[in-house]
């Protein structure tokens, strides 16, 4: 099974700085949780532009972290921002599930 995050690019950027890495992981957790809430809010208020913007933001963050599958879900969400409510709701569930996997992986790295 492929790991949900490939940290090789991030580690090249941080140059082995563990303190920076930890700070970035914590930043990822708080940013992602806020963006998932924004996606939920956009879904509930039927706001496709807010949905697109939150998906776009999370996509960039995910790819920069090395969470390819999470980023791909966000890309699908961004591109499908005018799609039906049910599809977006299902996608949000997938995003949340994938994020949980990423979070567990990163928490293991921290320990």
């Amino acid at each position: 099974m492929t790991a949900p995050v490939n940290l090789s690019n991030l580690r090249e950027m941080t140059d082995g700085d563990k303190e920076l890495e930890e700070a970035l992981f914590q930043e990822f957790f708080s940013s992602t949780e806020a963006l998932l809430d924004q996606l939920n809010e956009a879904l509930n208020s039927n706001d496709p532009e807010a949905w697109r913007a939150a998906a776009h933001a999370l996509k960039g963050t995910s790819y920069n972290l090395g969470a390819q599958k999470l980023g791909d879900y966000c890309k699908t969400a961004q591109e499908g921002h005018t799609g039906p409510h049910e599809e977006k709701a299902a996608l949000l569930m997938s995003l949340r599930k994938e994020y949980q996997g990423v979070k567990e992986f990163l928490e293991n790295e921290l320990n």
Partner: protein, 166 residues
């Protein structure tokens, strides 16, 4: 040296849409700092990126060697631009209060020497075309790579060396 504005202590939040202009005070500040720029011992780099994770990642990479400023939106970017006249700007195309292309156009108009590298998470042809129209110097797609960032700085440094030898 370097830094970022902290919204908790900054009494001004960005407007929903930041105007693409400098105040009179900012114009004066820019003129003063432009005259001092050739004497700066280190490169000053402005990173304009609304996502905290991505901005901090890029700052973490660059502030080991350079003076870096992080801006979360166009409002902060204009503030840092006027105060510091950065040598290089890494500029996200999608910002919460302005279009990155518009901001690039403003910076180029005020300081044609500014070296701008557009950064995007999308790969739209129209973005590349607009970047060319603005005569920016580079275009980087996310995810960031150390090589592409360092290449952009290397190209800038070589062009600066070439200009100073003329």
């Amino acid at each position: 040296m370097g830094g970022s504005l902290d919204n908790k202590t900054d009494p001004l939040s960005p407007p929903q849409q930041t105007k693409l202009e400098l105040s009179a005070h900012q114009r004066d500040a820019l003129q003063k700092v432009l005259s001092r720029r050739p004497l700066r011992p280190k490169l000053e780099i402005l990173i304009v990126e609304d996502q905290d994770f991505s901005r901090k990642l890029l700052m973490g990479l660059l502030q080991r060697e350079h003076v870096c400023f992080g801006a979360r939106n166009a409002f902060e970017a204009i503030h840092y631009f006027a105060e510091h006249a950065p040598d290089i700007i890494f500029l996200d195309i999608e910002l919460p209060d302005q279009d990155g292309h518009g901001l690039a156009g403003l910076f180029k108009k005020l300081d044609p020497q500014t070296y701008i590298v557009m950064v995007t998470g999308n790969s739209y042809k129209k973005d590349v075309e607009k970047a060319r129209e603005n005569q920016v110097h580079g275009f980087i797609a996310k995810p960031y790579s150390k090589q592409s960032i360092f290449n952009a700085i290397d190209v800038y440094s070589k062009s600066k060396l070439k200009r100073s030898s003329l």
